[in-house]
Symmetry: D2
């Protein structure tokens, strides 16, 4: 799966001349949506089936500054139990590959009226498929290196 890419706009920066710290959570969200589309789903569709995935916790580590017009790539990995989904994020700058930020979010599966619920089978199967694909593309990457 291609990483999520986002180009920093002026409105993302602050007067320190770098991306404002809250905006990384926007980039993470963009990456989650991208990941879910990559599973052949969409978060809009998940919602229309009555499942929401509100966030329980989030963290960011800021390693380097991102600047206006930088293109950021957000790599994501996912693990889950029956009721929670955890995403880990790694933000690279496309130009030089520098790692800009790391982070994670944990989401809980809720049904109508925001009551926690077990993730439905169709969602778990899609997520399981995504993990397999992530793993095999990671393996492919290693093999590529080995062979290269």
């Amino acid at each position: 799966m291609e990483p999520y890419r986002v180009r920093v706009i002026y409105g993302d920066t602050d007067q320190m001349g770098v991306v404002y710290y809250a905006n990384y959570l926007r980039f993470f969200e963009g990456a989650r949506g991208h990941f879910i589309r990559g599973l052949g789903l969409s978060y809009r569709e998940i919602e229309s089936r009555g499942i929401l995935l509100p966030v329980l916790e989030a963290s960011v580590q800021y390693l380097k500054s991102a600047k206006y017009e930088d293109v950021l790539e957000v790599h994501l990995s996912e693990t889950h139990t029956r009721v929670k989904i955890r995403f880990e994020y790694k933000v690279h700058r496309e130009q030089d590959g520098a790692v800009i930020a790391l982070g994670h979010t944990v989401h809980v599966c809720v049904g109508p009226e925001l009551r926690p619920t077990r993730a439905p089978e169709w969602l778990l199967q899609k997520l399981q498929g995504g993990r397999l694909e992530l793993r095999s593309s990671a393996t492919a990457g290693q093999e590529g290196k080995r062979n290269g």
Copy 2:
């Protein structure tokens, strides 16, 4: 009615060192909510009665820059027909009274499923009350000056 006040945070600024241009529409919205609360209503309550006021058009004229930690005062005036409400905004910097920005928004009254509808009587009456109060406080202000 006291003007709406908002203090500029770091996240409102951009790398030019001034408030990012889109954020004035956030300040305008804050001022609308403040105005409606001043009528003895709340926009949350209006929505719970099945009326929404989505925006049809908005404009901003940027006269001076606002900076981090500036306190901005948003003065608002309101006019309406049976289906549309128009707000005019004037943003001052509290410290020196400088006019920072002007703007307007036009809103249409919609019912469930976002269909345009005539504003209900209870809303028009409240708005009418607000205009009277704005007018009388303007008059009071003039008298204050005359007497001062």
Copy 3:
């Protein structure tokens, strides 16, 4: 020139279930940066040469709602004098081509210390090039239709 594309994220929406009205000014800004890159420049580079283009006025007309995960295309046209640049924007939803919003911004050319200045020759030449290209691609489009 390809139009600027942006996918609506959750953070762009509000509780009405549509894109929050201020965010169109972010999309417009994204489209300006894209347009300037298309001229073989970048706004970052313009700034590094000591020229800033702060906004004097902005407007938006909201015609239809954009929703979460919609892909929006922002088409832009540009005109300028020696000291001001005007952009007109048209936002389409990619899926069905619906026109979502129209708008404009006017920018003034300023030098160091934010004093208005005449646009330098290198900037005007690039802008002139962009207009020619916009015009020829519009013509190409019409011919395409005529022939189709």
Copy 4:
């Protein structure tokens, strides 16, 4: 010191009908600025003396949803070493006192060109004063309860 208060605007919410998760980092920033003003400083002044406090890490735990027009109170506590400052945040809803979110940020003291530096004496003294005041007002609160 009074807690920082912020009223949720429409633009803070998302289509789930609650405050978008990234915006808590904006509220935390507002609370930091408020705390620093309470020390008799301002972050603008700190910057003008050549000291910046960029964020190294941030986290949020989301316990309850905040909604449009809720007034949120952000309580903050601060600890520091010679080079880092750590803030802990607790967000309450004013109406019912419910704890909405917890979080923290860690900041590093940097000088010109964003090089890490030891916090200057004048900053440490102010921060030390703030901690004393926080402690004594906490004590006062306990006494108040004991006597009540």
